[in-house]
């Protein structure tokens, strides 16, 4: 068995948090309020709860095979071909998602800050950074995530702090959306898709140093994105109201635009916001691409994952450039996250059931 790198629990939590905070919440307030109205924050809670459930299932499955990743125990639970094709599906999904994350962010950059810059340039520049990042092994990925978590969360908290004075409480009411439970549930499932990305832990569990703490730290890792998502949704609804949110392509960016900075020192706060958001996007898409390439290397039984980076890179660029207009980007994001949601909801549960029924277990850790 190949030796997996080492990952401390905190790094593990950092990876989960950084993967989740990314492109999703750039548009989240609009998509959720379109369905759930002012009850959108409950939808976020529902989505967070759903993802927590599936995450715990994944961990439970993963801990039955403490030395193996999804690609490896998949072949043990089922047969070689099914296991490999399922692994292949997961990896392709991560690859496309990672390229779309970069695309969504670049679209925002091009449409709001760097208007004259061709989108290809931004995508290529970001891809190169990501490639540099994922050429290292898991230990480095873990450290980067642990460190960058601070660079992501502090600016977000700061922004929240500044914009809280702009909230008009009447726009937040009625807190439940006032349309009954069904829209909340629909929007909750919708918000579950923006929590996708936590499933990359199927590749990370064997590398954690103290596996007993996996449950603990995975919940911690999920909690901070949940809080961030919820506050952003609440702020967006409180500042713009549901009706106006439907007219904003990038609600979170607009949120920063209407935030006054004390004393007019910085009149255009969004520039600062975007420069920090680059970090969030970088970690999201970097982590996704890393697990995708690691997965591919395990499926194809290649010793070094680095070998695959350059062959797959054109593919990432291709998927990032595939959708034409911004609407197509959102459509494709929608489709790919539905595919991902289907994978995440079905495969781990199936695998777990099979492994319990036929009593399959991996080797204990030495």
């Amino acid at each position: 068995m190949k030796e997996h790198g080492k990952l401390t629990e905190r790094q593990f939590a950092g990876i989960i948090a950084n993967t989740l905070i990314g492109a999703g919440n750039l548009v989240l307030p609009r998509t959720l309020t379109a369905i759930a109205g002012t009850g959108a924050w409950i939808a976020v809670l529902i989505g967070g709860f759903l993802s927590l459930v599936f995450m715990l299932i994944i961990i439970r499955l993963g801990l039955r095979f403490p030395e193996e990743t999804l690609m490896e125990y998949g072949t043990h639970i089922t047969n070689k071909w099914i296991g490999k094709s399922v692994g292949f599906l997961f990896c392709s999904y991560w690859l496309v998602l990672s390229s779309l994350v970069i695309r969504v962010f670049s679209s925002m950059l091009v449409s709001s800050v760097m208007i004259n810059t061709p989108i290809e340039v931004i995508i290529i520049a970001m891809l190169l950074v990501v490639v540099y990042f994922i050429r290292h092994d898991l230990q480095v990925i873990g450290r980067v995530n642990e460190l960058y978590f601070i660079f992501i969360i502090i600016p977000i908290l700061f922004g929240i702090f500044l914009s809280i004075s702009e909230v008009n409480p009447i726009r937040l009411l009625p807190l439940t959306g006032g349309q009954g439970f069904l829209p909340l549930l629909t929007a909750g499932i919708g918000s579950f898709f923006s929590f996708l990305g936590f499933e990359i832990i199927v590749m990370l569990i064997p590398s954690i140093t103290t596996q007993k703490l996996t449950y603990n730290y995975s919940i911690k890792g999920l909690l901070s994105p949940l809080v961030v998502y919820m506050t952003i949704v609440l702020l967006a609804v409180g500042i713009f109201g549901v009706e106006e949110l439907q007219n904003l392509t990038w609600p979170t960016l607009e949120l920063i635009k209407v935030t006054p900075f004390p004393g007019l020192i910085l009149e255009r706060l969004e520039v600062v916001f975007i420069s920090f958001w680059v970090v969030a996007i970088f970690t999201t898409s970097g982590n996704l691409l890393y697990v995708s390439i690691l997965g591919f290397s395990q499926v194809l039984q290649i010793e070094e994952h680095k070998t695959l980076i350059f062959p797959l890179l054109p593919l990432v660029f291709f998927f990032a450039m595939l959708p034409g207009s911004i609407y197509k980007v959102f459509d494709m994001m929608d489709i790919i996250s539905k595919v991902g949601g289907l994978l995440v909801c079905s495969i781990p549960v199936l695998y777990y059931l099979i492994s319990v029924i036929w009593d399959k277990k991996g080797d204990e850790r030495s």
């Binding site: 004259n116 190169l128 726009r171 009411l173 009625p174 006032g178 349309q179 009706e243 106006e244 209407v258």
Partner: protein
């Protein structure tokens, strides 16, 4: 071997310098035409043209002259007329007018510093949504700049230079901000105006200004119904509006003296607590219970009445409350009956507190027509001043 390595490294560094410099969108600050304020009027249609009166707009842009600002050592900075330059352009819509404007300028225009957009009253009466769209789509445009309505031509307002104005557009913004801070103008920046325009349960208002010679003056608030301006409130009505809808204290209240009907007492409001709740009456109309608690101080008294007497004092407080209540009711029923525009945001209240009822309403304006108001006003006067000296 070593040479090759060096060469490779050099090549990479050269390549990286192409993509990491970020100069694609570089534009030096002095190579932009920075617009401080924008005025929008209807253009006079030229003789014999095919355009209707309201088709052509005239956009006046106030452009800052950076070289004149700041001044040198020992030199006073340029003021008023010298620091800005007003340029007008005519077009079918904002983007065409701005294109025409660009033709007249050395550098490309930059909207990131716009402090105020001023519409003339006749433009506002025709509806302004179509003009706002350009600014909303522009990523540079500041969402916190102010929308104002000028009674005469917007161009004239921009051409009025008060003596203390260093940059005229910034002067306008400061004027509004001071009034907002004092609580006698509603705080409605661009984005708030747009939100109120879009929301079904509220109609926007905008600050109205007027200009004479070298003075600019607030002349009240413009009442909108949807995107069209339908009427105006004067300054005092504006205060009542702020007290009712914005939970700010507005200005002051002048009442007759309790003992001596010829003298007056002026009460300056320093705080307000307001509580607003919608209810449904038996005949299916909405009733709004408004509880207002004012706090104020007497700033002038023209009679020698001794208000240390508790009975007189209470009566004075009662008078102030009654007067405020009367003014609020007059304003509310005027807006309701005459304009039928819900600038108070009562519809939003219904949406917030009675979501079930709100779902049943197709047209809030129809419902608003029959809405009733039940106002309770209480006043607490904290300080009365030294009155006995007059005797």
């Amino acid at each position: 071997m070593n040479y090759i390595k060096c060469f490779k490294l050099l090549l990479i560094i050269c390549l990286i310098s192409f993509i990491t410099t970020g100069c694609w969108d570089l534009k030096d600050i002095d190579q932009r035409s920075i617009i401080i304020a924008i005025g929008i009027d209807f253009a006079e249609t030229p003789e014999g043209s095919n355009y209707e009166h309201s088709e052509l707009i005239k956009l006046t842009a106030q452009i800052a002259i950076p070289q004149k600002l700041g001044g040198g050592a020992g030199q006073p900075p340029a003021m008023g007329e010298e620091s800005v330059w007003n340029v007008s352009a005519v077009g079918l819509n904002i983007s065409m007018a701005i294109m025409q404007l660009n033709e007249k300028l050395q550098y490309e225009i930059f909207l990131g510093h716009v402090r105020a957009i001023i519409f003339s009253e006749d433009v506002a009466k025709e509806g302004i949504l179509r003009y706002l769209n350009y600014f909303r789509n522009n990523p540079d445009f500041r969402r916190l700049s102010y929308i104002m309505i000028s009674e005469d031509k917007a161009e004239d307002v921009l051409n009025t230079y008060p003596k203390t104005a260093i940059i005229q557009g910034v002067y306008l913004m400061n004027m509004v901000e001071t009034a907002v801070k004092k609580g006698n103008m509603p705080d409605i920046p661009f984005i708030e105006f747009v939100i109120r325009l879009v929301d079904k349960g509220i109609d926007p208002v905008a600050i109205m200004i007027n200009s004479f010679e070298n003075k600019i003056k607030f002349s009240g608030l413009a009442v909108f119904k949807g995107e069209r301006m339908v009427g105006k409130m004067n300054i005092e009505e504006g205060w009542s509006f702020i007290q009712l809808a914005e939970k700010k204290q507005g200005g002051f209240e002048v009442v007759r003296d309790v003992k001596d009907e010829l003298g007056r007492v002026t009460i300056f409001f320093s705080g307000i607590q307001s509580n607003l709740r919608p209810m449904l009456t038996e005949d299916d109309n909405f009733l709004f219970k408004v509880d207002l608690d004012f706090e104020g101080r007497a700033i002038s008294q023209e009679t020698p009445t001794d208000y240390s007497n508790q009975i007189l004092f209470n009566e004075l407080e009662q008078r102030v409350s009654n007067e405020v209540k009367r003014e609020l009711e007059v304003l509310f029923y005027k807006i309701q009956k005459k304009y039928n525009s819900d600038i108070f945001g009562f519809g939003e209240m219904v949406r917030a507190y009675m979501p079930k009822e709100w779902d049943k309403i197709d047209n809030w304006r129809e419902k608003f027509r029959t809405t009733k108001l039940d106002i309770t006003v209480r006043t607490k006067i904290r300080r009365i001043g030294m009155t006995n000296l007059i005797q």
